[in-house]
């Protein structure tokens, strides 16, 4: 009890069980950068060095973002609020002008085009349905260049696709949130844009609706053949929906990869803590093994020297032992699993175990790491070189 921080053990334990609120450790530039596995040709869109400064002298809101999107791919821009993901999306849509960088679609530079000349769909967070028009007229709005009959036929087709044919005469305020979103999507997809941008599309839905709707939206996008860029701060949503995820922090891209890559091989403590949770520990590495506070662990790749390691809470096993190395200081039962906070020396760690485990708060335990552990915060070059 000589450590003042430890006197209120439970509180601090729950708040900062070494799941570090990551320092901005993301290096600049393209990281990971695996191409989309389903790619069937050159990228649909290439974005290079996109930058936006809102106020001279302040940190750029978007700082050198480089990424690509393939035909038919669903890409998620994931990051905490204020990371620049929405600004990036708005620059792609043409609603913000970048200070530097280029956006190319199918080889054509569209950086300076106004939104209406880009042919890119945009689904807004608040759906932005026209309040003075009914569902039918909303969906028809973008088809003003088609002859009337053709436009009407297309609207009918789209409403059928999203299952709202019965509600064509309703005004937006007479629809539920989920229905409004489907109208917004139908309105956008009616133009068959090669790319649809979605800004936090599920944030206005309640939790139950969200899970159901997001698979629907993914299916609709895939069916229409449009590629999509989705902005979200919800890692679960990104993991569940996207073909690839772009993790952003403080205006920069931290990592690009498939959901599996991002979760299992985070490149930085930020990515490791923001996508899922991680215990960040330091170890001495030698090839594929490292000495850590948990003893010797296996590494997912060969490195040497002092390294940061991301240990997922589910990779740690608790073994009750009367003279165990750590003490259980908190427990939260969650049904499908449970969270344990344990203290080892001055360190607090988060552990996730099965629902059957029965360890009381105050019990002593030994910790064992049961899987390969990922070295993080490595020099970019050494990672990419692999």
């Amino acid at each position: 009890m000589d450590n003042p921080a430890a006197t209120d053990a439970t509180r601090t334990a729950f708040e900062d069980a070494d799941i570090r609120p990551a320092a901005p450790t993301c290096p600049a530039g393209l990281i990971g950068g695996a191409a989309y596995a389903g790619a069937s040709g050159p990228p649909l869109m290439i974005i290079e060095g996109l930058k936006r400064v809102f106020r001279a002298g302040e940190r750029p809101a978007v700082d050198g973002v480089t990424l690509d999107v393939y035909e038919g791919e669903l890409l998620a821009l994931l990051g905490p609020s204020g990371c620049g993901k929405t600004t990036t999306l708005r620059m792609i849509g043409g609603f913000e002008q970048p200070d530097a960088g280029h956006i190319r679609m199918r080889g054509v530079d569209i950086t300076d085009l106004p939104p209406e000349k880009r042919g890119i769909g945009f689904v807004f967070q608040d759906y932005a349905l026209f309040p003075h028009l009914d569902v039918f007229e909303n969906v028809r709005f973008g088809l003003h260049k088609l002859p009337r009959k053709e436009a009407a036929a297309r609207v009918g087709e789209m409403l059928e696709l999203v299952g709202l044919s019965d509600l064509a005469k309703r005004k937006p305020h007479e629809l539920s949130g989920g229905q409004q979103q489907r109208v917004a999507l139908a309105r956008t997809l009616a133009l068959a844009p090669p790319l649809v941008l979605l800004d936090e599309p599920f944030s206005n839905l309640d939790a139950a609706m969200r899970v159901e709707t997001r698979q629907e939206v993914r299916a609709l996008l895939k069916k229409s053949g449009s590629a999509g860029i989705l902005v979200t701060h919800d890692q679960e949503e990104a993991l569940a929906l996207a073909d690839r995820i772009v993790v952003m922090e403080a205006g920069k891209v931290c990592q690009i990869g498939t959901p599996d890559e991002i979760y299992r091989h985070p490149v930085s403590s930020f990515v490791a803590s923001f996508i899922g949770r991680s215990n960040i520990v330091t170890g001495k590495a030698e090839g594929l093994g490292a000495e850590t506070p948990f003893g010797r662990v296996e590494l997912s790749k060969a490195v040497n020297g002092t390294v940061d390691l991301a240990v997922r809470p589910e990779q740690i096993l608790l073994e009750p032992h009367e003279e165990g190395e750590a003490e259980v200081i908190g427990r939260e039962y969650r049904g499908h699993d449970q969270l344990y906070w344990v203290r080892k020396g001055e360190r607090r760690l988060l552990v996730i175990s099965g629902p059957a485990e029965q360890i009381e708060v105050g019990a002593r335990v030994n910790l064992r790491v049961c899987d390969c552990v990922v070295p993080i915060n490595q020099d970019i070059q050494s990672l990419i070189a692999e």
Binding site: V53, A56, G57, G93, G94, F95, Q97, P98, D99, A100, D112, P114, P115, E116, G119, I120, G121, F122, F124, Q125, D126, A128, L129, F130, P131, H132, F141, G142, H144, K145, A184, R187, T188, L191
Partner: protein, 531 residues
């Protein structure tokens, strides 16, 4: 350095912003330019003459009178509005809904009509002597003007205070009680400071109205600036003195505006804590309180609504009503012929300014929006005088034309049109416009097909406000009326000032009926805003 050059190098300025800025600046120039002609005219005289004019005891007296009138109206309207607002929002007074309507109704009786009612009440042939057999002396001077203006303007303060009472969080007052304050201390230390912004806002509206009022003070023969400016301009033909008086009047009005904004800056009383407010506490009045409350309400209602209605009814039954009807209809048509185009022009001018304020905030758009309020802050008579000089010297073709009168109305009431259009734009989400762009519509098509339809209620509201105000406007019409232009307000005013109360009655009635529409509009708006 590198960053700022990058900023300007790449980012395009939307065409809409450019066009609207130019339009807004043009409106601003129209607002300011005539005032410059007023200054020019004032400085036509040499320095000595100016000093002699300004040092006249009469000028000082005018200032004192204006101050006395403003103070009187503010004090009395507070004495009426504060208890009224408290009764309606914080007590269980029986029939609160009715009281609420009755408290706003007096807005239908413009100051000069109220003055007419007070004058028509008194005198040998007046309502009181003919009905009850006792004659009052003709009301005039400070008392008469104060009474007429108070009974017309107190609803502005009432509306502000009622909103403030309703918005005041009960838990603040309860914590004060818990901290050991007596109910009286709670009122002075918690409630009153929280009412301050509403009081200031109401006082500003009323103060500017009183400073600029012409009809009521003229009928009450109380010498304040507007009245004397008119006499100097129309009868004494001393344009230089009139200009100087107008400039002083403008200075007073702007000082009031400046003062109010300074005071309001210091008054930040929104709830700061998290969690929602608890709502308002209702005081139980008890039987005696109910009687006292209704006694208060009914005496105010009798004075502010009953009196003008009774006096008008009295005078209307004295003469052959049918005979005057064609003339009244004609006069009504004349008012209409100016009010309708004024309303449309005002909305047209307000639109780009509102878009600038809401969609493209910048120092320039702030400036343009400030300029738009000049017409509201500058007293009507001074504003009109500036346009007389402007048209005489700068554009003689315009002098005494309908076009000039319509333009001056539109500029004077621009702020009224601006309010609702701006709030409608604030409510229209920008994402809806962006959605139209993403669906392939250019800026012009987007504005016409999305922005305009969504803010249409605001535009209509703004036009209705300007329309109804222009229908009963007096001082500007008086100075700028084209030859032969006899709208309701001028006809009614000149007949009353000549003592022809009988002949004035149908015109006054027409104005009241029409203004009642305005009040209905305010009440509907108020209900929507209040939820």
């Amino acid at each position: 350095m590198a960053i700022s050059s990058l900023n300007t190098g790449r980012r395009r300025i939307p065409a809409a912003r450019l066009i609207f800025s130019v339009l807004g600046l043009m409106v601003g120039a129209l607002m300011v330019l005539p005032l410059w002609y007023l200054v020019l005219r004032a400085f036509e005289a040499d320095f000595e003459t100016v000093m002699r004019l300004l040092a006249r005891p009469r000028t000082v007296q005018l200032m004192l009178n204006t101050a006395a009138l403003t103070a009187g109206v503010l004090a009395f309207s507070t004495l009426i509005a504060l208890p009224m607002a408290w009764l309606v929002s914080r007590t269980d007074l029986v029939g609160k809904r009715v009281v609420n309507v009755l408290a706003v109704m007096p807005l239908a009786v413009p100051g000069y009509v109220m003055a007419y009612a007070l004058i028509g009440l008194a005198g040998n042939y007046g309502f009181l002597n003919q009905t009850f057999g006792f004659a009052l002396p003709r009301p005039q001077g400070w008392w008469g003007a104060t009474l007429a203006l108070t009974l017309y303007t107190f609803p502005y303060l009432y509306l502000n205070l009622r909103a403030a009472f309703t918005g005041l969080d009960q838990s603040l007052e309860e914590s004060a009680r818990a901290l050991g304050c007596t109910p009286r201390q709670v009122f002075t230390r918690v409630t009153l400071p929280h009412l301050m912004p509403a009081l200031l806002a109401g006082w500003l509206v009323i103060g500017l109205y009183v400073i600029g009022d012409f009809g009521a003070v003229a009928l009450m023969r109380y010498e304040v600036f507007s009245y004397v400016i008119y006499i100097q301009y129309s009868a004494a033909f001393d344009r230089v003195y009139a200009s100087w008086l107008a400039l002083i009047l403008i200075a007073i009005a702007l000082t009031v505006v400046w003062w109010e904004s300074r005071l309001r800056e210091g008054a930040h009383y929104a709830r700061t804590g998290s969690g929602s407010g608890v709502g308002t506490r209702i005081t139980r009045l008890g039987p005696l309180g109910q009687v006292a409350g209704w006694g208060f309400v009914s005496s105010v209602v009798i004075a502010s609504i009953g009196l003008p209605v009774a006096v008008l009814a009295f005078w209307m039954t004295r003469g052959p009503l049918a005979a005057s009807l064609p003339a009244v209809v004609d006069s009504f048509g004349q008012s209409l012929s100016v009010a309708v185009p004024s309303a449309m022009l005002a909305a047209l001018m307000a639109l780009p300014i509102a878009v600038l304020a809401v969609r493209y905030p910048s120092p320039l758009s702030t400036l343009i929006n400030r300029l738009a309020f000049i017409g509201y802050a500058v007293p009507a008579l001074a504003f009109a005088l500036a346009f007389v000089f402007f048209s005489l010297q700068g554009a003689p073709i315009l002098y005494q034309t309908h076009l000039l009168l319509v333009s001056v109305y539109a500029l004077a009431f621009l702020a009224l049109a601006l309010g609702p259009i701006r709030s409608a734009l604030y409510q229209a989400r920008p994402s809806v416009e962006e959605a139209a762009r993403a669906l392939g519509h250019g800026p012009v098509s987007t504005f016409a097909r999305v922005t305009l339809p969504t803010i249409r209620p605001g535009i209509i509201a703004g036009m209705v406000l300007v329309f109804v105000i222009a229908m009963k406007e007096l001082p500007i019409a008086f100075l700028l009326a084209p030859t032969g232009f006899r709208p309701l307000s001028i006809t009614m005013f000149s007949r009353t000032s000549e003592g022809m109360l009988l002949e004035a009655a149908p015109y006054a009635a027409a104005i009241i009926v029409f203004s009642a529409l305005f009040v209905g509009f305010v009440l509907r708006h108020d209900k929507k805003a209040g939820g």
